[in-house]
């Protein structure tokens, strides 16, 4: 037995198993006593200290927090058919991502008025940066800048839903599998649906090919928009390409792990976990003019020629906007 395991065994004895149930089932007496003790402390010295530390109005914030906590621990909240937990997304996920969007990448959001106030709309964007930060930042940008605080429902690769934890969080944040059925169901429910049609080809492309749009899949997203009769909003994201400049790819390791790629960047894996920190680039997210599809009959979705033409139109729009934004950009970081 090693010293560490001895220590672990010793530590385990300190908290006997029999005492565990008190964790799970506090008797009313115990719960009352805890509440009384905390309340008494808050009314006395602790309350005054709290006002000094957190400033005036901390009670209201604490009460809000308690309300949130109360709903969470009793399961008193709603999720939609896709598993989207609006409250958790607003209070937790977006709060965690917001500093990154505002302080770290200092995202300049343009053309938010191109996203309608209500009804279904399909956002089509370029994908880049090794890690799908661009998708998460677009979600924050739309929620925080849109006057109606709309939520972006992304269509994600199936890999996301196979992975534990990642899949769970993705569903709760409102995302679903990139397939025609789900896309159409969400659009018909009047949601803002986001799609990154380049997929792994776009996000995992080498740094040398930055801002060159890859093939746009088979145009399934255009067919979904045509069936639902919703507009398509092209979205161009500048800045995400340089967050993790991918200069190489561990192809063998990727194949072993069943991943599409394992990136090599100037900092990863050389600096270990530190290498996973994205570079603080300056971002611009530009939403373009909506491309209406309601003038076509729903059967138009089965016309491959029309679908290809519309796909090309969306792709060209995004590519041209990217070039325009790149010319305007002063520097990668400012």
């Amino acid at each position: 037995m090693t010293a560490a395991s001895k220590q672990a065994a010793g530590a385990a004895k300190v908290i006997p198993i029999e005492s565990a149930p008190s964790w799970h089932g506090p008797t009313p007496g115990l719960a009352d006593r805890i509440a009384d003790a905390v309340g008494g402390a808050l009314a006395g010295q602790l309350g005054a200290t709290a006002t000094r530390v957190f400033g005036k109005g901390w009670e209201a914030k604490a009460a809000n927090g308690l309300g949130f906590l109360r709903r969470r621990i009793t399961g008193d909240y709603e999720v939609d058919d896709f598993g989207f937990d609006e409250e958790l997304t607003e209070e937790v996920f977006l709060s965690l991502l917001r500093p990154m969007a505002e302080k770290y990448f200092r995202i300049d959001v343009r053309g938010i008025e191109n996203i309608p106030a209500e009804g279904g709309v399909l956002i089509v964007a370029n994908h880049s940066g090794t890690v799908p930060l661009d998708a998460l930042m677009t979600q924050v940008a739309i929620h925080d800048h849109h006057p109606h605080r709309r939520h972006l429902r992304m269509l994600a690769a199936d890999l996301v839903f196979v992975l534990p934890v990642v899949g769970e969080v993705a569903r709760k944040a409102g995302h679903t599998l990139a397939c025609n059925e789900d896309a159409q169901a969400l659009l018909e429910r009047g949601e803002v649906v986001g799609v990154w049609p380049e997929g792994f080809k776009g996000i995992g492309k080498p740094f040398a090919e930055r801002y060159k749009l890859q093939r746009f899949g088979r145009g399934g997203f255009v067919a979904s928009a045509l069936r639902a009769g919703v507009p398509i909003v092209p979205c161009s994201i500048v800045g995400a390409e340089e967050t993790y400049p991918m200069i190489g790819n561990f192809k063998t390791l990727a194949r072993l792990l069943g991943l599409p790629y394992v990136p090599i960047t100037p900092t990863f894996p050389w600096l270990g976990p530190l290498g996973a920190v994205p570079l603080p680039t300056k971002w611009t997210i530009q939403f373009g003019e909506p491309i209406p599809t309601d003038s076509y009959a729903p059967e138009a979705a089965d016309d491959p020629m029309l679908v290809f033409n519309l796909t090309d139109q969306v792709r060209e729009t995004i590519q041209h906007t990217l070039y325009k934004l790149l010319v305007q950009r002063r520097s990668v970081f400012f």
Binding site: P28, E59, A63, L66, F82, L177, C179, D182
Partner: protein, 353 residues
């Protein structure tokens, strides 16, 4: 002349309830109820019970003798008398025998078959919401889901051979009620709920009152403007996550790695606490949600209980868990009261930032 209805699987709770319900309907002359064992509770006087093993050809005699015109086949279930092999045999061979007998019954007008949404499987690579016409990427590999898929296959074959018979297949989500005897209700009765680490599946429930009502509407003539022929998903509106179910029940969850959960499931099975089959673990990993638009628009029925309401009715009949929600809210409410703020209510939404 009124209808003569044959109901299979009346030894189980749902079957017994349905047999009693249909016997009281106007236009129903007689109800013949069959199963391999007598029902736990006494059936009402209008119901004739027959001890029939569906796996034997005896069922053909019952159909001919009573001149049956409506067959409601409820004997397709995940658990039952005997082990898994016997259950499978009852589900699949029993259905084949019954359909064989039905084909030879010239007076038959209507066939209703209870199926399950488990035929869609539970997989991460499938659409989030299943419609009746979607095919899952992988067909169920075994267990009850495979039985149900095979049963549906035989029923489709029967519908082709007897186009004069109105056939409806009802795919029920997990049926819950105050007195359920389904594998999932046995799972929720465990004091600690083993879950899969890193997954929070979406679950859907249908209340047994709604299940009985849908079966009643399917067994009788369709009301004007609706049709009850075809395949329909039956589930309450809305979705509950497994974590939400556990919190509403007040049962702590124990997240385990998937292989460890397999071991625990084996243990739970052997101690007969609950029947945690492989497909149930699959459901508890990836969940399953179905679209019910067809039921509401074509079939013409909107379930009275939503999924959360159906689950609440089930939870109310369960003994309190180790973490009762009322006690937890009492603590947070008391803290909120001490802060001198109005009590947060259920309906309060987070305000705009």
């Amino acid at each position: 002349m009124g209808k003569v209805v044959l109901v299979t699987g009346v030894a189980r709770h749902l079957g017994a309830r349905f047999a009693a319900e249909i016997a009281g309907q106007p236009g129903v002359d007689r109800v013949v109820a069959v199963d391999v064992q007598p029902p736990a509770a006494e059936l009402p006087p209008g119901v004739h019970f027959g001890l029939v093993d569906l796996r034997r050809p005896a069922i053909a005699r019952v159909i001919a003798e009573h001149d049956i015109d409506t067959v409601v086949h409820l004997n397709v279930s995940a658990t039952g008398h005997g082990g898994r092999a016997a259950v499978k045999e009852t589900n699949v061979i029993g259905t084949m025998q019954l359909l064989g007998a039905c084909q030879k019954a010239p007076g038959l007008r209507r066939l209703v078959v209870k199926s399950t949404t488990a035929v869609y499987g539970s997989a991460p690579r499938d659409p989030a919401v299943f419609g009746e016409r979607m095919q899952p990427k992988d067909l169920p590999a075994g267990g009850f889901a495979k039985d149900a898929a095979e049963v549906e296959g035989y029923v489709r074959g029967f519908a082709r051979r007897r186009p004069d018979v109105a056939v409806s297949v009802l795919r029920f989500a997990n049926i819950v009620g105050p007195t359920g005897d389904t594998p999932l209700s046995a799972y929720f009765a465990l004091p600690l709920l083993p879950t899969v680490l890193g997954y929070d599946p979406r679950l859907q429930f249908v209340h047994e009152d709604d299940a009985v009502e849908v079966l009643r509407l399917a067994a009788l003539d369709p009301r004007p403007g609706t049709t009850n022929i075809g395949t329909f998903n039956v589930a309450g509106d809305g979705v509950l996550l497994l974590s939400q179910c556990a919190r509403r029940l007040g049962r702590p969850t124990v997240p385990l790695l998937r292989p460890a959960l397999g071991l625990v499931a084996g243990l739970v099975r052997q101690t007969r606490l609950a029947d945690m089959s492989q497909e149930q673990i699959q459901l508890l990993t990836h969940g399953r949600v179905v679209a019910t638009g067809q039921l509401r628009e074509t079939f013409g029925y909107t379930p009275r209980y939503t999924t959360p309401e159906a689950f609440a009715d089930f939870a109310a009949a369960q003994p309190a868990g180790l973490l009762p929600p009322e006690r937890l809210t009492a603590v947070t409410d008391r803290l909120a009261a001490l802060l001198g703020e109005p009590r947060p209510t259920h309906t309060e939404e987070p305000g705009p930032r």
